[in-house]
């Protein structure tokens, strides 16, 4: 299962933090710091994978990718495939891009509840439930359209 999704900028400031197993705030900060430390020490043109068992316990693996000024980090255990996670990350970013049209760091900062909704459509309880970015965007947009048009409006269940 996926244990955590973290988005942080290149200065180590968290932009989105989601742990699928509860971690107290202090522990979260400690983890983010140590992950940032590891990411900084990575040379360019190396693999996107890091074994993270020293930070997050046995079996923990980490896949990261930089998009502009942001690090996207997924942490997961042996039941996931590293290359596939890299693509899942791509799905997530594509979905963000579709929602915000040319997503940038500020979009994520100011709309991070929406970013959370997008992520919730892709991963639920640490398991991947949707991998089509257009489906994800559809679901999120629908929720936001309904809620912003009229709070008392109830869509008919078909």
């Amino acid at each position: 299962m996926i244990r955590a999704v973290i988005v942080m900028n290149d200065k180590g400031k968290p932009r989105l933090v989601k742990f699928y197993e509860f971690q107290p705030v202090e522990k979260q900060q400690e983890l983010i710091r140590s992950i940032y430390g590891v990411l900084c020490s990575r040379a360019e043109k190396v693999s996107n994978f890091i074994r993270a068992d020293s930070i997050l316990g046995p079996d923990a693996r980490l896949v990261y990718k930089t998009y502009a000024t942001l690090y996207f980090v997924f942490i997961f255990d042996t039941s996931e495939n590293e290359l596939a996670i890299l693509d899942l990350m791509q799905v997530f970013v594509e979905a963000l891009d579709k929602c915000f049209s040319n997503v940038c760091e500020l979009d994520i900062v100011f709309n991070f509840n929406k970013v959370h909704s997008i992520l919730d459509e892709i991963i639920l309880g640490g398991q991947v439930i949707e991998t089509s970015s257009s489906e994800v965007v559809k679901a999120v947009e629908e929720a936001y359209r309904c809620s912003s048009s009229n709070s008392s409006f109830t869509p008919v269940v078909n």
Binding site: L16, Q127, E130, S147, S151
Partner: protein, 882 residues
Amino acid sequence: MGSQGGFGQSKEFLDLVKSIGEARSKAEEDRIVLTEIETLKRRIAEPDTTRRKMKEYIIRLLYIEMLGHDASFGYIHAVKMSHCDSLILKRTGYLAVTLFLNEDHDLIILIVNTIQKDLKSDNYLVVCAALNAVCRLINEETIPAVLPQVVELLEHPKEAVRKKAVMALHRFYQRSSSSVSHLVSNFRKRLCDSDPGVMGATLCPLFDLITIDVNSYKDLVVSFVSILKQVAERRLPKSYDYHQMPAPFIQIKLLKILCLLGNGDKQSSEHMYTVVGDIMRKCDLTSNIGNAILYESICCVSSIHPNPMLIDAAADAISKFLKSDSHNLKYMGIDALGRLIKISPETAEQHQLAVIDCLEDPDDTLKRKTFELLYKMTKSTNVEVIVDRMIDYMISINDTHYKTETASRCVELAEQFAPSNNWFIQTMNKVFEHAGDLVNSKVAHNLMRLIAEGFGKDDDTADSQLRSSAVESYVRIIGEPKLPSAFLQVICWVLGEYGTVDGNYTASYIAGKLCDVAEAHSSDDTVKAYAVTALMKIYAFEIAAGRKLDMLPECQSLIEELSASHSTDLQQRAYELQAVIGLEAQAVENIMPVDASCEDIEIDESLSFLDSYVQESFEKGAQPYIPESERYGAVNMSNFRNQDQHDASTHALRFEAYELPKPTMAGRSPTVSSSTELVPLVPEPQPTYPREIYQTPSVPSVSDTGSSEYKLRLDGVQKKWGRPNYSTPAPSNTNSDSHKTANGETQRDGASNVKSRARDASYDSRRSPQVEISPEKQKLAASLFGGMSQSKNKQSGGGHKASKTTNRAAEKTHMVKEVTTPVQPTQDLLDMGEPTIASSIPSVDPFKQLEGLLDITQDASAQSSGSVGATNAPDITSFYAE
């Protein structure tokens, strides 16, 4: 909001983010956030805060908590917001509580009721929001409160709801498998959901369930295979395509599942061969996701019952990975190779140069993975090269965690495969020198025990040689600064026990060294204690041997210093030493016999030597001793404790009206845990790469009657994505046996050997013109992989007679292979009654018996060549279990 295009938040929030972004120090950031917290505390408490305002405050709270500050004062407001009727507020409320609260938080109680209500909502978006919260916030105690609704939602007309309900149920299963064990059949049912998305989501819980209990799901093999086939043939809607690949994530999950189901099960595996082969052929290697599928296929091929065609395809794919420029693909290639060599050891050889390249790669992740691979393929022929490399790497890294891991692997490999005494001692010295304080103290004790007990039963000369070389190297090392404590303890102990035994060093020389150690490490009481005891032994042996004791002045002063030490342990040792050297030779010899560390000390537990004293006391009128338990009426404390526990369990919350029966409580029987015990788990990737595949007893896939009544017909899946038609499933109980086909395998092995060698050659020739391979690298390759090819040639030449005439070295490799490499059926058949092995037994070097020391039965297995494989497998694993 985002849907409005711009940043819908207030200017305040914008300013906050901006000022935090511009903060030049952590202190400045903290100051800004603390001011913000004060503002929010005040604003939130104001009575006339509008809901819209409140929503923004809560988002700001989330933001400051993400930055690591405490926002707990606002939790209750987040909870309140989740009660709102407005969907957008409700969603924000749920989002906040899922991020703020853990499932055991006190405030959860206040949300459960809302969740219950929302799960029944007509608006499926509300239901979805509630299900999101369920996945995060519901714990074992609260499961019964929402379980009925969640189960109902599995049939909801909206696929988004069904998908989330499946995940919620899965989450419950993870939290408390007993409370939903009666609902597990729902996952099977959802596998034939008309929506591929729901089906794909269902694979997650099924994967977990199959991991735990593979046998109950063998009947689904055919269904999984047919789903995979349909996915690969693009029968799913176009929207599931990703980078031109049809539903790749579903394919990967399915391959993972097949990997579990086919492991050690020939019959199930046979269903999979065609589809896995097809997928490997169809993979688009230019895209990342195509490679991900290919990698997953290799994993599957390496796990299921071996199929020569697929193994060849997998080996080809691995070579593509390894030759790629992408580090990611190289990494996957190394990982895949590590899996494939378990069933096809000769594959490693084809890729020797690529592996060595990875070892020298600047990418640490790749390097580490490569060491893992080398660790898996270590055997007697290449242990020296591999362990030397590992030690170099260990010295070069700073990370304590990996240093420890590498060190313990070095120790493990050295103990298992060491080719000579001297090498073993040198290796251990290096490990201790650089990572002595990191390795488990058991390793130090093991080393002492090995040196004391020796490696052979009868070979005393080898043992004493080992000790001499240990003493010699320790005398050389002991003066070096900054030795780890654990290593010094070993050194002191060995010098005390064996320092003067072979007569190379005088007592005063060794004593001088020991005193130096104690002095140089005056703050380490344990080392000092070891040093003093070693001194006592040295002097005791001197006295016992009848030589005149000539105590060094520095030793004298050390003992005086220690007898006034604050540590009572050190004091006692110092006084003991003084007492022992005051005794006569006869007595000393009894107290401290030479080389007796392995002798058992007899203890007279009944204290019979006191009998006469007791008798005497009785006669003088003493009272006999009455055991404590008989003195008063025995009170059984445990009764109270049980009572307590019982009380605690009934305190649990109830969320339903009292008169309703609670079926889940009745269902809370330990069925699941008991079934996991019966069924052999899927073997975890073993550190050794030998054999499982051949040895794993085939698992009969008879599903028990209990679960069969839940069973759903899945035949419909083969046809279309519509409603499943419920026809009878094919009989699923099979009793596959993987042992019968030794003959078939023999041919297969032979064929793949030939092929792989051909490929090997072509790979080399292809490579050499492009890249100048340094002779150093080639040498390294030869020493890493050479042993294998040597022995293989030996074998494939068919000339077992020839091995009699070949030199000792070749013979040894052969034998070593016999003992340490996975036994292929070829060997089983051909070596039956073959005298080569027996004839090489006399040439056993002491370290062969080191292996014997670890488990004596291995000796026996080497003798009876026919059954080598069978007895070997458990031996090695039992060694790892230590």
